[in-house]
Point group: C2
Chain length 268, copies 2
Amino acid sequence: MNRLSINQYSVRQLTLVELVEECRETGIGVLGLWRDKVSSAGSDRARQLLRDAGISVSSLCRGGFFPYSTDEELVRTTADNRKAVDEAAEIGSPLLVLVCGGIAAAGLERSREMVLEGIANLAPYARDHGVKLGIEPLHPMFAADRSVISTLEQANDLADHFSPDTVGVIVDTYHVWWDPNVYREIQRAGDRILGFHMSDWLAPPPHFLNGRGLMGDGFVEFKQIAAAVNRAGYAGPIEVEIFNEELWALPGPQALALIKSRFQAVLA
Amino acid sequence: MNRLSINQYSVRQLTLVELVEECRETGIGVLGLWRDKVSSAGSDRARQLLRDAGISVSSLCRGGFFPYSTDEELVRTTADNRKAVDEAAEIGSPLLVLVCGGIAAAGLERSREMVLEGIANLAPYARDHGVKLGIEPLHPMFAADRSVISTLEQANDLADHFSPDTVGVIVDTYHVWWDPNVYREIQRAGDRILGFHMSDWLAPPPHFLNGRGLMGDGFVEFKQIAAAVNRAGYAGPIEVEIFNEELWALPGPQALALIKSRFQAVLA
């Protein structure tokens, strides 16, 4: 239980102030944050809130979207990614999650190269600010519009270009559970695993973006994947990140209680 | 154009009789058929219709769904798969498409083993009836409920257990376009490629099952994939298989004309 981190978007019905208060009351010590939510609360105030409540940050979502179709887009994305690193450093997040971006005008292959170039461009800046970059492969159903990096194998191939002190990968059960090579690639990732996210796969998902399941409601084999991630050497927070309309419709405290009990149940 | 095959479900608004008539008028010489549609028309009558019109069959959909949770289910599936082979032979289809099936009670890994066992069980029967079995990997978003075989690499690994005269793979752009290893695996498949299907990936798909796009409306790089499939040695029919509510809402002849023009356009 002390490894549980709540990704802020799992309970987006709560403001940061409300979420921190709930966590303090129920003994949750780690949060995964989103830039828009931190920005609404105000970065300084957010940091103070977390410090007062003794809550640490597992990650900040998100940077990335590296493929570009125009020079203007490249300039804009580069600036925004540096800003994301700044914000991670300010809020005390050791990790910036990278959602690498979809297909630019130049096509799939070139877009994948742009991801490598983008990370190479950002990595020194991130290192100088004490923030690690976590490449999160997204489910192949997001390959066109969100991430041309679809498998952990690709993420590992990318991370291989950099020092593990700066760039690593994030294993999210929702995105990788189906992959026949996932256990091989978790082992390969080893100390490059910077984050471990959980949500379940419903069949079919009730919504393309916001149809992730609460652990135990779907097909993901959590215990097996968690064991592999542990064996690979990852001992950090396990972030529950569920985008689900039904969960968002519940009162925040009830949603949190549900997440906690399911987290325990699927790993027990 | 002489490689164009129309999968019957792309224009499911047409009966088999209507479809054959349209094909005869517009010079389409190959069809991909579905068991339910053939069965409604009557197998003997269907065969006669096709013969009279000079239309050949590229494939029959479908067998598979090998993973089972009970012995009864295994008995039922085994019988149904043999029936599917019989029907393919009766209608003159050289190929039965295998949609391998989702996760059974025993879990993902065991389900994948059941697919191999199921194909091994069916292959001699298929060979004796002159019907080849085509393993079609389905997009990972169908891994839980339709196919635990999600990549061409898996399909090739399965096919490796059998003679290429009996078991091969089907490359469907909708299912494999996103795969970073797809070109490697197309080359590896070589003469094991028994079928090539086309539809486009819309982002996001408007419907989980029936949201496939007309070629040119989405992100698939048809020319590149087709070139790779040709290079690998496949020279057979290219089957357009689009499940799309909008296409189905059109008058059949209009839908067929649209498919023909897009087929030409994306390969030109």
